[in-house]
């Protein structure tokens, strides 16, 4: 299962392939459950208690509680599933994206208005390691 993939050298990017899908199954199914209003209420009332109903790892639960999206991605979360968490929080895709890039929402918005992040210097991990 650990053969390298041609996209493994793309920096700052987690491709949701079977390696991740397996890791993240319960995390993502938990996210899916937030599509029901009653579940959203219960989750909001007590994150920890709701999470404890799921067969997730402690790391996964903590990452959810911390709203650490990069951590969730590394633990098998898929962005469309994770979106149910920040939607429950009333937050936008743009906000969530900014937290993953480590800048303020304002700075992120400014970057997007200026045409977005250029692919130059962002195609290969090696380019990131140089800096």
């Amino acid at each position: 299962m650990s053969e390298p993939r041609p996209y493994d050298d793309v920096p700052g990017t987690t491709v949701f392939d079977e390696r991740m899908a397996r890791k993240g199954y319960h995390l993502n199914q938990f996210c899916m459950s937030l599509m029901k209003p009653e579940n959203r209420e219960r989750f909001k009332a007590d994150n920890r208690a709701y999470l404890d109903e799921w067969k997730m790892s402690e790391d996964q639960k903590q990452a959810v509680i911390d709203r650490d999206y990069n951590k969730m991605l590394s633990l098998g979360g898929n962005i469309y599933f994770l979106a149910k968490i920040f939607s429950s929080d009333g937050l936008s895709f743009q906000y969530a994206a900014s937290t993953m890039t480590g800048v303020s929402e304002e700075a992120y918005l400014k970057m997007m208005l200026a045409g977005g992040r250029s692919p130059d210097g962002n195609r290969y991990k090696s380019e990131w390691e140089k800096n």
Binding site: V10, E18, A83, S92, A96, A97, G102, M112
Partner: protein, 282 residues
């Protein structure tokens, strides 16, 4: 005989739906994006398609990880608008065309595409945002819709070439349907965007613009793009563009470009839009 009269490509960002539903299309941020669809709405008013075969992807809405079909065709009489977490979009329910959908499903399966046939599914922004962009805010959608969902979420996703060939199979199926119908095929999603990780916000304008051009007259290049190139060049969610190739495969080799629009940004995404009239007679 049913005939495919045109192909439409368009992005399908959720924030566009929100801008429409909350009446912000004329705000500074959104106006230039929506202006590019004014031609399209007028054009649809005169085209009056009977059916839109709408290629999109489900975004963890109808399909959880329990069940991920590579290709799913909707054969139902109607489809509810999904609650994606904020309540359903305030848009009309979607009416299907079960006769044509079943005909296509049967034909395409017999052409060795291993479809999942779906009788019940809620449709998310991937399907409703393109309808809003092309038809505005009617009481009722002006045509029937056949939803065709492609897995571009869980890898491996189908290759660009597989998608293009599927388009050819769909074309063959529609051409052999006996009822006289004006059918459009839409490919949605894209263009460059990445919603996740430290590289989020990636936009590749030269790459997108070349893609738009080659959709018209150099699709051979596009069908050869491997998945890792989409990810590297167009961001992790840029892979949605393989859905445009299903649309392109269903058109003649020669098409006439009626309209093109490109705008950055809509939320995290580069918006691309094309209207291609089928055949090279304008």
């Amino acid at each position: 005989m049913a005939r495919i009269t045109a192909g439409v490509a368009t992005s399908h960002v959720p924030a566009i739906g929100r801008a429409i539903d909350t009446d912000q299309t004329q705000a500074d941020y959104w106006k230039p994006m929506f202006d590019g669809f004014e031609f399209s709405r007028k054009w649809e008013e005169s085209e009056k398609p009977d059916v839109v075969f709408l290629v999109y992807n489900d975004h963890a809405t109808a399909f959880s990880l329990d069940f991920i079909p590579t290709f799913a065709i909707g054969v139902a009489e109607d489809y509810a608008v999904a609650d994606e977490g904020f309540g359903p979009r305030p848009v009309p329910a979607v009416e299907g065309h079960a006769d044509l959908a079943w005909h296509i499903a049967s034909s395409v399966i017999q052409q060795d595409f291993d479809l999942t046939v779906v009788n019940k599914m809620d449709v998310d922004h991937g399907l409703t945002v393109p309808l809003s962009l092309m038809f505005g805010q009617p009481e009722k959608w002006p045509c029937k819709v056949i939803p065709f969902a492609v897995n571009v979420v869980q890898y491996p996703v189908p290759s660009g070439r597989r998608c293009y060939n599927l388009g050819k199979a769909i074309r063959k199926a529609i051409d052999s349907f006996s009822e006289d119908l004006n059918v459009q095929i839409w490919g949605t999603g894209g263009m460059s965007h990445q919603l996740q990780g430290p590289r989020a916000g990636l936009i590749n304008q030269p790459w997108d613009k070349a893609f738009l051009s080659d959709m018209v007259d150099n699709v051979a290049r596009l069908v050869s793009i491997p998945p890792e190139d989409y990810i590297r060049e167009a961001g992790s969610e840029g892979i949605e563009l393989v859905m445009w190739l299903i649309m392109r495969g269903a058109l003649d080799d020669q098409v006439t470009e009626l309209h093109r629009h490109y705008h950055v940004p809509a939320s995290n995404t580069a918006i691309g839009h094309l209207i291609l009239k089928n055949g090279n007679n304008s």
